[in-house]
Symmetry: D2
Subunit: 347 residues, 4 copies
């Protein structure tokens, strides 16, 4: 059995990591930290785990060596301790933003704070198994992508790689659930204000732009992304509606071919483009708890717009589940281990 | 007192029309029809009106002459009876689609059925008081705009008229509540399926494209609109996120100037672009029951995208309230009469 | 015009008070205080009022004399300043709990803190216009009831007064929206936790027991109330399901008679017990923004249980609207003035 | 591998049965019927199963012999075909109401139609593993309980069996999600009407009274149950708030003892009565997809009321999951097999 520890297990992604790892047949959870809840059972914070485990939170200071260390800390905090983490754990999977970008300059530009460990940035592998599984397999340190970023990247990836769309404009209109804002209560997260909100909380300037362009520019250096993010009345889930423009002469067949080339053998990707039924395109509603990324598309009859639609559960494929998928690759396990839950319907 | 009758008063927009007109100080509701509920009190269908009125539904066949006739019938049905309606009423406000487009050809193209009264199409005035109040004042027959159309048109109008944005691409990403699909139960409207859906029900090919381009092309003949509509977990409300591209050199000041020029004196338009507070941009959440159209915008730092955000209550400014606003103009009343309800917070 | 000031206008009930009073034809809002938002427009906090008023918050210290003073302060704070308030205003309507109970002993028992102004307790009239409109008319100082209390009292009142039910057990199973917990963000109000909660937050020991028994024991001194309160996924609204037991031989006719005797002429009470339609019993869904109290009942075929159902909007008939109704009586206005909004359907 | 077939696999409980059985390591799904969707993949109806299985619906007429047959048919339909089912399958688990009651008379009284197979009623074992696992282990035919019934029975069972509460009144105030009304769209299930409803859809006369009294009267023949059911804004889940009265002198210790005696070793029962955290009592929110029954209680300080709170997912412990749990016992598998999913937080 591989021993796994989790830094920051009282947040929402940490809770999902616990849920997934507790039923993972090849690992044991060694330690899980929470400065606030140290000494208490994880079930106090994540009530779904009551009766499922007796695991208790410990302090960060009590952290012992382990095989795999998941790090779930606020942006800018992870880098303060990463050197220590890399010593204590054989492999590290960081779910935060600190080591996601391509360079120190990018970090400074988008996060407006100096990076404390710039020399480590290039040591981290950006972890999207559907794109770079080989690098992940051999990686020691993984930077898990942002939830909005991974959904957008996977939605655009086949279209960019196969040169189907113009390099700009590419507009990502993202609809987001409340859980992505984290577990700390704020005025904007209060139920009476947030309930049924349709709130343009980030119309421009979304930080994940850097990650998305970072990955996609490897396939087309001219790529230019514009994001708008709207908070809607769901707890879990992201839907991205990508508005892009097909290059002249691109046929439906070429689109299908590109999608199949990239995603046919990927266990967590489903192409959803149905003629019948209620769920003809991807929807986060049915992905809660599942590690799937669903993708669909439709082209405009009048003109060359193509609408590409991607959906994930931000707490699973958007963070914890994707992290476990990376871990599976790093440990030589079947990629799907522990991630088989298919989601619920209706819900 | 002006006597008003309503054709089709059991639907959701019909219910709002009843609510608004019942408290309107200058009109009396003469008749309200419903083939299904004839003989029953309107409170059976619209429970908010119980104890507020004793009005009962009658059959369409019982319709008597009146001053103002509101017509709320399914697309394609209104035109079957419009000649009769124009004889029985001094003025007609049609809330359906049949007389909204500019020509018979447009109708045939977008609605795929022959138009029965093509000679009447040009007799109807498309009713958006913020744009053509003078024509409305003198109109005999009004075609009320589609709810998604009016929200999109008002969001784009100052930018197109003042030549601030490129004529394409202009992408309208619309988030829609469940009430716009009407009161007839369907599999897709069932609560367990529709609840918390984030459903791309019309990624391309939205019919309101015709209306929007119809109005805006008067200001810029090259205008080209692309719509995607997503159903989200709200009952009432539309948020449109418009992604457009500023012409070279356009300053923030010019945008403010255009918005103020068009909307400063409009009683139902609010420019919402706040630095502080939770509601920094338009949100349909707080517009339920109100006749406001709220508009805001933000420009991207990297590049020339501008995101323009518009919000309405689809059942008020999107249909019934806007119809009453037209009626007020047609009758010489103060434009705001009966439409003062400001909406609720929180809700 | 009567001049009205509001202490504590940034909370949810304060916002509704502003909304209602801004359209009240016989009063002007003189001042509205908020220690946190002093100097800012009320529209920053209550976005539905943007463009409706230019009113700004002031500090409590700046309070000037006025005709009517509404006090919306946390429990235990109101009594610290009440002597000052009674000097500065001709009439005071306190929306908090400090002067609701019958005696100092009761206060100490239920609120576990000493009462600072015990001599004033008996000077306040408990304000439920449907029960004691005469006292209210002549009152100088009003204690507005708790939202759960007023809904429960009005639900039980005809049954207790007319001696239709056993004095115990009387079980009040209350379903509550999130707005009643107030505007201060807490862990329990965070959207991801509170959304779709069905949370037994007060299974026993509800403080409003004291108010309810206080009022009803005047009609039956043996009355004994048991409350359980469950938080459900609504923002506004209370539904109380009262489980009581009919005295032997009580007929339906006697129930109808009692209800009509008490409520027939009450402008804000509707008896809702329909054979057809979707809304056969009271529902808070359609009461949002309205000052109605809806009541219905059904008796069990096997045995003598009667289920009595009451619904209100906690922010309107549960606080601010009921306060304005009291003010109308105190000022000699028509009881309904400013309170005509009937609610929305669907919503 | 045991071969399992499902009659009626397009409904919501049928979908959950598919989800659970598809990941069950000891069974294979042989056939699943749907008259409406025969020939189509189950993923068309249950989109969470897309890519998880290639299983297609067949017609009822095509049903072949199998080891275990789950029957999910409307009330009154199951009995029309049960003789056939009992011939074709070694064991039958009926999820409908037809064989749940104790006698033909009870059926006629509560369901108002003649029973077609009265001689079979006594051959069915009512399946609640926490109460009668031994009978289930040896049963050939199981009648699965109603979802509201199983939740209420398990909530009351230790209190009745251990003689802690008075035999009456016992009031069950049930809060219900929309999925329990089934997948067929109706006016009352339409999103705009059902969304955020707090609807007293069955204040008295609930049919599950018969099942609940049927089971509990074996422990106390005088037991008398009163149910009120309210539809609330959740899709999945039932919360029952039971209001009962402790016999004189019953201590907390005796309650704990009774609960532990009955539930300590039950893998799907959790006693939830926490001093800290947000989820101090049972809540259906965190049970979605899980087979748990959570129970808690609180006693009133003034008087002898005890409030007992029970929660389940109506589609899992309320139907399909409980059915699989019965199957596990009947087949000699570990009771928990296939039912390990613990639910999600937050959701």
């Amino acid at each position: 059995m591989v021993s796994v520890s989790i830094i920051g297990g009282s947040g929402y992604a940490g809770g999902e990591l616990l849920r997934i790892l507790l039923s993972h047949p090849k690992v044991t959870i060694h330690q899980v930290t929470s400065q606030k809840f140290a000494g208490l059972s994880v079930g106090v914070v994540h009530p779904n785990l009551r009766g499922v485990t007796n695991l208790q939170y410990c302090k960060l200071e009590e952290l012992k060596p382990c095989d795999i260390l998941f790090v779930g800390l606020p942006n800018g905090v992870s880098m303060q301790m990463m050197e220590h983490f890399t010593k204590i754990a054989k492999k590290v999977i960081d779910l935060g933003a600190d080591f996601r970008l391509d360079s120190e300059e990018q970090w400074n530009e988008w996060y407006k704070t100096p990076h404390l460990l710039p020399h480590l940035i290039h040591e981290f592998v950006y972890g999207i198994p559907e794109i770079n599984s080989e690098s992940i397999r051999h990686a020691k340190w993984i930077a898990g992508p942002g939830c909005e970023a991974i959904c957008s990247i996977l939605t655009l990836f086949p279209f960019v790689k196969h040169n189907l769309i113009e390099s700009k404009p590419i507009i990502i209109d993202a609809k987001m659930g409340s859980s992505q804002a984290g577990a700390t209560p704020t005025t904007s997260s209060a139920h009476a204000e947030r309930s049924r909100a349709t709130r343009s909380y980030k119309p421009t300037g979304h930080r994940h732009t850097a990650e998305i362009e970072g990955v996609l520019s490897k396939f087309n250096p001219d790529i230019k992304i514009d994001i708008s993010a709207t908070a809607i009345e769901i707890v879990r889930g992201i839907l991205v509606t990508v508005h892009a423009f097909l290059k002249p002469g691109i046929s439906d067949k070429e689109i299908w071919k590109a999608l199949r080339a990239e995603y046919k053998d990927k266990p967590f990707v489903r192409i959803v483009k149905e003629k019948h039924g209620l769920y003809r395109y991807p929807e986060p509603k049915i992905l809660q708890g599942a590690n799937f990324f669903d993708i669909g598309w439709e082209r405009e009859n009048r003109g060359n717009r193509v609408v590409i639609i991607g959906a994930i559960d931000n707490l699973v494929k958007g963070t914890s589940g994707n992290g476990v998928q990376c871990m599976n690759l790093m440990c030589g396990f079947d990629e799907k281990t522990g991630l088989e839950f298919p989601g619920l319907h209706p819900v």
